[in-house]
Symmetry: C2
Amino acid sequence: MRVSTRVEYGLMAITDIALHSENGGSVSTTEVAERQKISQKYLEQILPLLRQAGLIKAQKGLRGGYRLSRPANKIVIADVLNALDDSILAEMEIPEEEEDGALRGCINECLWGKINKKLSDYAKSVTLGEFLAECREKNTVEWDLYVI
Amino acid sequence: MRVSTRVEYGLMAITDIALHSENGGSVSTTEVAERQKISQKYLEQILPLLRQAGLIKAQKGLRGGYRLSRPANKIVIADVLNALDDSILAEMEIPEEEEDGALRGCINECLWGKINKKLSDYAKSVTLGEFLAECREKNTVEWDLYVI
DNA sequence: TAAATACCTATTGACATAGTAGGTAAATAA
DNA sequence: TTATTTACCTACTATGTCAATAGGTATTTA
């Protein structure tokens, strides 16, 4: 499953913010852009999506930046995906009424309904906190450098 | 998860063909287009994708049309999706090397890798035949009208 | 007061989607 | 043989989304 860079960058950004605000400080777009090698200007359009969804808080001005609105283990991946893209976890349209022989409704309900449920259940079951922990485990060496 | 009409129509078409060629005959684009209410001209661009993937066979000329290349229970949904779209079951790119602090690789491997595996495993596990049976069960009344 | 920050809007080039349109080749039925 | 039906191929178009780039505004802090 291939997703847009908007989603990719958004996930990278909130993960980066979660990591680097653990000490209580804020994380600026400049920092995120540099660490993650993302266009800062493009990031400036993506982060407000996460803020509008209530996942991160912004602080303007010098020493400002972003931090999580709530603990990382209270944010599930589905929250992040829905903030960044309205189609990934969306259902396929099921026609109200269908003529005999028409298969659209059946396919969208039976097939895509199940696929979407698997996807959605997983995205709702994994928290950002769990994801961070998993990534830490995978890259113990490097991560120890800047994780508290 | 929302997909393109190309994928939606392609799934409808191969399902329709599977159903209506059970007696040994062929199914023309005209028939599929009428039954499924799809633009015939657009269908004519989609069905060759399924043929090139070896899932259906074409017969030109009068009384021609399409039929399955092999039994419906030997075709898995993943085959159909891959024939119609190269991104649905594709993996996200994982960078060769990454600087410290970069998260792209971790996210694409840990997160999208797992999501893709769930998706892919399911699509490989369900055959077109099973899907047909399931749809039949769900719509017993209408389906009995034209299923052998 | 100056600098740094978030934030907003407009613009752009590239690409994909969802068709429409017209024509060609092959197979069949008459 | 001939007309018709079919698959198939190519080109075109309108629309929308993506992935930025660019410039400017408001706010906060040092």
